[in-house]
Symmetry: C2
Subunit: 405 residues, 2 copies
């Protein structure tokens, strides 16, 4: 094995000294709805949470735990089928009950337990159904159950979303394994995006957090199905050092190497969320280049990705570049539109901010594909950013309008 | 007639000393596509333009004219069927040709002519078709043609959108008359929202501009079909003093009276745009109350109005308050979600940030109506704001996805 990361986006394999278990607690009417992720040795942890002002109880509790434990995390308990959001004081008590039962059963400090929930909003969470299953979960813990755990966190997803990255450093194999859920940023009942990453790399808590934030910025913060930010979004990581590699130091080549692997795993997971986007028929990669800064490029790409006008044109396989330049224009980033070029795949459809003659048949051929690359060149600098989104179809409306009625 | 404004949202009647004309220039394949609005006496003028970084040529030219004329405006020339946006230097020359021909024909200074275009983006504007019709337009000028002008500015609209407000001050009648176009903020080919208001009130240019901005803030800046801001949006006014009332002074009761009338006309026009929103089946009034400031309330209301999740729930007649509080939460305005109440009509569906028992049948009855009132009470202050939007339906997708193909 080489230092280069090898990605396997079809499978999740356990890093060293991690175990998992899954169960059906009855919170969902059927199927697995409870996942436990556990490091058999003390482990570092970090997480990135939703920026929504309305935060679900498990988000508030997990933020507090990570502060109290100073970035030490040995277990994650996750339920699907109920978001435990907008549930008031009883919701907070339910989240605490989940954490305490997990901590007691595994004999770890309660602040080293991360709690996550996903599913319907505003409905009391029956925590007793979860706590009643913890002994079973503990008995079921095994490295081989990590795939079952990845299935247990799903809600309206049509398939599990996983990724494993392998590499070696100094002759020792290191693994980063991730699972995520979400059929878009939004779901029929405001279920949410969650992602859990496990690694046997050795890394301190501050550096782990920084690495996670950096990976998140170029993966989960670069996708959108419709721009709705949920109350429960969580991306969490445990790093337990089981690989036996030397602890990764700040400003070292090993640090860049780890961030690269983590970013690639998170990008794969985030892209799988977009590909499973509600009603999506297209997977669209938006690349903004020639920008003054990466932030500017990302902001323009985000504005294009969230435009219903652009998304419906893509669904209709319409080479409507006017909608793309217009959405770039209201992004809040100033630029000179008379310098802008726009391409679909390798076909230039706009140059110097104006129309270019192109063959409609060639455009149709490109837009008929499931994967579409859209490039906006600003000619205003040397920075770029990539963003992933899907189209907006009538199926999306059906899924979201007809859910309860 | 009293000082109280009487609104007539079904008809546009000319204020004193204004004339209009309309023509079919052939820019559209059929029908009226050219409108001329003219004050027979010197007139003040003001306008609010799109904030999009990509501005159409007529927007750039009109902004320049209003600066050069120091808020004097005697004519407006408007074409539909072509937005003259992303058309480069030839586009600017076409806008100038429109202005110069209008100025020459009417014998007014060119900087006192406002130019507007709306329709397809990125296609050269054949200005000669417009300039060739100016003599006819001049001959056709008449107060009675204002209704024809209101029809000539339409693109994909299903009906004209007009409003007339009448009142009297000091025994003299004053009229504010407005026309607008737009079947949403966005259109199949990036056509745009335009609005033109004429009044015979007497008011100085600085105060007129301030009054227009104030009215716009509570009308056009409080509507959304899908959050796309176009390249051509323009709201413009001419005030010619034809009523003979004393000039309205700053900080006077007359000033507040004028702003009220203008705001009500602009709100009526803006609401008519939402009611004609592409694919819309619901007209939704979102009221956010108990906010620390009006700006905060408006920002939260805007976030709710733009949420695809909320809009599809409304299309599906689903009392899904979790989506509403979630959209409020990611508005960027911090608030305590445990104090929030949400009502549909007079039915409370969320209290103290959590679920309330309500009769689904009562909720269904409210949501089956075409007009729906949605109130979010923050219990965090004494300011409020109202916002108008429509639902998001499969018909919207059909209109926007299937336009060219």
């Amino acid at each position: 094995m080489s230092e280069t990361w090898t990605l396997n986006p079809a499978e999740i394999l356990p890093p060293k000294d991690f175990q998992a278990a899954a169960a059906a607690s009855g919170i969902k009417t059927s199927g697995l709805d409870l996942a436990l992720l556990y490091s058999t040795r003390p482990s570092r942890g970090a997480a990135v949470f939703t920026t929504n002002a309305v935060k679900a109880a498990p988000v508030v509790l997990s933020q507090r735990h990570l502060l109290e434990s100073r970035g030490t995390l040995q277990a994650m308990i996750i339920n699907s089928g109920n978001a435990n959001a907008c549930t008031g004081e009883p919701g907070m008590l339910a989240a605490q009950a989940m954490a305490e039962a997990t901590a007691g059963t595994l004999a770890v400090p309660v602040e080293q337990v991360l709690v996550c929930s996903t599913g319907v909003i505003g409905v009391p969470l029956p925590a007793d159904r979860i706590t009643a299953r913890l002994d079973d979960l503990k008995r079921g813990l095994s490295p081989g159950e990590i795939g079952a755990a990845a299935r247990a966190i799903l809600t309206t997803d049509t398939r599990p979303k996983v990724c494993t990255a392998d590499a070696s450093i100094g002759g020792r194999p290191v693994r980063i394994a991730g699972m995520t859920k979400g059929a878009g940023m939004i779901h029929p009942q405001m279920a949410t995006t969650l992602a859990f990453v496990l690694t046997d790399a050795s890394i301190g808590p501050a550096l782990l957090r920084e690495a996670l934030e950096q990976a998140c910025r170029r993966s989960y913060n670069r996708i959108s199905v419709d721009g709705d930010t949920s109350t429960n979004d969580t991306l969490a990581i445990m790093a337990n050092g089981g690989s036996g590699i030397p602890t990764i130091e700040p400003n070292s080549p090993a640090r860049d190497w780890f961030v690269e692997g983590l970013t690639r795993v998170c990008q794969s997971l985030a892209q799988q969320v977009v590909r499973d986007g509600e009603g999506a028929s297209k997977f669209v990669t938006i690349r903004v280049t020639g920008a003054p800064s990466e932030e500017d490029a990302a902001q323009i790409a985000r504005s294009i990705a969230n435009s219903p006008l652009v998304k419906t044109a893509l669904a209709g396989e319409d080479a409507n570049w006017g909608r793309i330049i217009c959405a770039a224009g209201y992004s809040g980033v100033p630029f000179d539109s008379s310098r802008v070029s726009i391409s679909l795949g390798d076909l230039v459809v706009c140059r110097e901010g104006g129309a270019v003659r192109f063959e409609e048949s060639r455009a149709s051929e490109i837009l008929r594909q499931r994967d579409i690359d859209l490039t906006v060149q600003l000619h205003a600098g040397s920075s770029d950013a990539t963003f992933w989104t899907c189209d907006l179809t009538t199926e999306y409306i059906h899924i979201n309008a007809d859910y309860r009625t």
